[in-house]
Symmetry: C2
Subunit: 199 residues, 2 copies
């Protein structure tokens, strides 16, 4: 940033940079563009870019809210027997609305959602999401039937947990899957590493 940019160009670049690196302070931005902190602040005002801490908060809230909402709405089926980090099961009683009106076959989405919901529930963290999934729909399920879903934690690698899931209807396997669940690290986890002040 040796040469001076005109205002319009600088503001375009500023918007790009802040989108890519939302955690930069005004001082850091000023250094990047070779202008004063005050100029950056005027630019931000004109472009309606919030301050660093507001940006951070907006991102955190959006991410936290979305992921929580996602986790919340992914709670499909009744959890029966959950042992964090090991395994568990859940039961989903299917209804007419879950199926195609003509064939009564349950939409795969619901079967997937139950399995995913259970997989996610096995990970002990407030904020988690499914990164990848390997899925096999083996037999159709008809509305009115109950899906019994079992999951087992296969491996844990850092903040990634691999969970194998099998869904059955009357003992017959209708779905099998493998979910990789990612936990977003929080300070709770960090506490575990720095030792427990009491106990």
């Amino acid at each position: 940033m040796v040469r001076r940019m005109n205002k319009k160009k600088r503001q375009e670049k500023l918007m790009e940079l802040v989108n890519q690196q939302p955690f930069l302070t005004d001082e850091e931005l000023a250094e990047q563009f070779g202008v004063s902190v005050q100029t950056i602040r005027l630019d931000r005002l004109e472009l309606s870019i919030p301050e660093m801490r507001e940006r951070t908060k907006a991102l955190a809230e959006a991410a936290y809210g979305q992921l929580r909402a996602m986790s919340g709405q992914e709670l499909v089926g009744q959890l029966l027997d959950v042992e964090l980090g090991k395994g568990g099961s859940s039961l989903l009683k299917t209804t007419e609305e879950m199926g195609f009106s003509k064939t009564k076959v349950i939409r795969g989405h619901h079967i997937f959602a139950q399995a995913n919901s259970l997989a996610v529930a096995l990970v002990d963290s407030p904020v988690v999401f499914t990164a990848t999934a390997e899925i096999h729909f083996l037999h159709p399920v008809y509305s009115g039937e109950s899906i019994f879903c079992q999951a087992e934690v296969v491996s844990v690698n850092g903040n990634r947990t691999l969970v194998e899931v099998k869904s059955k209807v009357s003992g017959r396997e209708v779905f099998a899957g493998r979910f990789e669940v990612v936990a977003i690290e929080t300070w709770d986890a960090a506490r575990g590493e720095t030792g427990n002040p009491e106990g």
Copy 2:
């Protein structure tokens, strides 16, 4: 919080509350527990809970980094023809490593990943993720075959984009899916609504 809690109990509750609501200030926490701000700060120090702004930043960075990493690693296949908000296609040349060693059948995970990758690529936002997916594996794919994947944006509802995806090998449909892609809102989007200072 009318009655006073002993220190141990209060610290347990504090940890829980901060995990559930990471954006509360020390003052707000002090009000919740009926103690002084200073006491909350001492508690936080003992429990190694960072201050509100640090917590926010940690969440934002973790979420931002994880989601970006996830989006990055979900780029499977070569994007051929992407029109943001409308549709596009991609090509995945399968290899031996993607399949089961005995049958040469490609693992569903890779097919899913290509489709998901393309769906996500159609949404114009730096931070996106797939909230839900409805998936149908129709025919096996064998290693060495090339998967041609096409996607089309069906509808947009706020920050949620519904994308339909079809994958083919030599003209035969091998996979079909419906992905709901969620975009995490940023201030860039907010600028679009507040008007452009310079046209």
